[in-house]
Symmetry: C2
Subunit: 307 residues, 2 copies
């Protein structure tokens, strides 16, 4: 099985109450790829500049990630984001965004990237998402992330992109904003009537909820004593979720979707334990499976009412 | 088994985007008692005025609730609250509060109320909570709710009250405010170091989390297409939670605490389906058990990773 992801491959400067980094590897496709790499072969698609060098390629390749579709633009600068978090780690404050080579990005996928069984369209301009979707004709399952910016500025394009994927994976506030429906269950159903057969509502520290035609499933965020940097948690969730689905070789049924929610939750929790990619780049599959088992233990109960 | 609850027995005026009621039965002890009445014998303690009449007593007694400890103060007016909710049903806006007979309340419990196996101190001034706690010497399990007002104005009293109960049941933001600790897992542990052996963090539509010495457990809010009035959801949760624990005749172990979280979630979900007590007053145990089974189905997954 193989997974293609298109999205930002970037450098980040991040400050939280627990520390800061002036320049580190980041970006949605980066976090997604690292998380998914524990389950399947991943191929990130996106442009980088001259500043993206051997060190960054090696970090990805050490996890078995296929970097052929990372397009190095001569003379360009990689996407750069500077942000900070205060007491409430659920809210990111953006201090600077420099699109760099991402401003001129026109996705041209290799044959290998086009042949992916699973596709993730990370949060980029929805017309670009559609261009990539159109090239990946073999995908048996596709997911899409977005953000309030595109709901505000490119809603028609975004709705067209959503109609072409199997699963929308966004923050719950964005599902409400997109549909104009405050009730999340109704909002998710409105999205599904538009095309996707599944909707994942990411809820930050509260976890994530899955809506499908068969019903509803939810998991809490994995409780952690130390959250150092929440940047990339949502993309790590999506990487664990779609990575597991691509790698499991099974049916895309409710049971596998629920397990995928578990792996998404686990990967997101590791991501936030340290800055940027620092924790996930050092992670092992054994640590993932151990935390998955703990998450399972934390969420199960026996329905044996005494009277 | 028997359960005593002290707290407000009130009239409410509530307006939400889905309707309004100019005067209806409400109050923390009311919502709690109705929810708990499906599991055990409940005895609410609190003052009411002349305006609290046969209709209100009958509604409670129809559910088997023991009303002997509801103190009718001649010439007094019952506690009254007027509030409204906008698009975001998680935020209550208070328009008017009239303490009425609650301003002079001095809890004097009957022998039957003092003999309760389980005690719930709903959200009232913490010195009053302590007076009641001191009278209920037989309780094998006790819970306490509070609010930001008492953290701001009577923190020492509140901490003393918390130290005397087995379980704190409050909103997650209040656990953070009380402890000055933004990380919820650490904040819950700080509370437990202070006395309680369990902490329940209510999280509105996101559900609730349970912290104990043994670990962590969480359930999502039950997904509903129609939420008409969230008032009393937290007290209905506490009523389902403590009512089940009192009624189950079992050990107060992790398995029963988790089932209790399930019943709390279910009662809270019924509460918000209609205004005030309208839904829970009409509820049946069969409907509760059916929704409990659905909640179980919505939260379980099989940990069988394919590779």
């Amino acid at each position: 099985m193989a997974l293609t992801v298109v999205g930002s491959i970037a450098f980040h400067a991040v400050k939280t109450p627990f520390g800061e980094r002036e320049r580190m590897l980041g970006g949605a496709a980066t976090h997604f790829s690292l998380a998914a790499s524990f389950f399947t072969e991943v191929r990130p698609v996106g442009p980088v500049g001259d500043d993206f060098g051997a060190e960054q390629f090696e970090l990805l390749e050490a996890r078995g990630i296929k970097t052929d579709d990372i397009e190095r633009v001569p003379g360009g600068q990689s996407f750069f984001w500077r942000g900070h978090y205060d007491f409430d780690l659920n809210v990111a404050h953006t201090d600077d965004t420099q699109l760099g080579v991402f401003g001129e990005f026109e996705p041209k996928l290799s044959d290998a990237a086009r042949a992916a069984d699973t596709l993730f369209l990370a949060n980029i301009q929805p017309d670009l998402q559609r261009q990539v979707r159109a090239q990946c004709t073999a995908a048996r399952f596709s997911g899409l992330d977005s953000m309030n910016l595109w709901i505000d500025t490119a809603k028609d394009s975004l709705l067209a992109a959503i109609a072409e994927v199997d699963c929308l994976i966004v923050n719950d506030a964005e599902i409400r904003q997109l549909t104009g429906e405050s009730n999340l269950a109704r909002a998710a159903r409105a999205v599904m009537e538009h095309g996707p057969r599944a909707v994942v509502a990411k809820q930050g520290e509260y976890g994530a909820a899955l809506f499908t035609g068969e019903g509803f499933f939810a998991l809490p965020g994995f409780p952690l004593d130390d959250v150092r940097d929440p940047t990339g948690a949502g993309d790590s969730f999506a990487g664990g979720f779609l990575g597991y689905l691509d790698g499991c070789d099974g049916e895309l049924d409710e049971a596998n979707l629920r397990r995928a929610m578990g792996y998404g939750t686990v990967l997101a929790s590791f991501n936030v334990e340290n800055f940027g990619t620092e924790r996930v780049a050092q992670l092992t599959r054994e640590e993932i499976d151990e935390r998955f088992a703990t998450l399972h233990e934390m969420t199960q109960f026996e329905p044996l009412p005494v009277r």
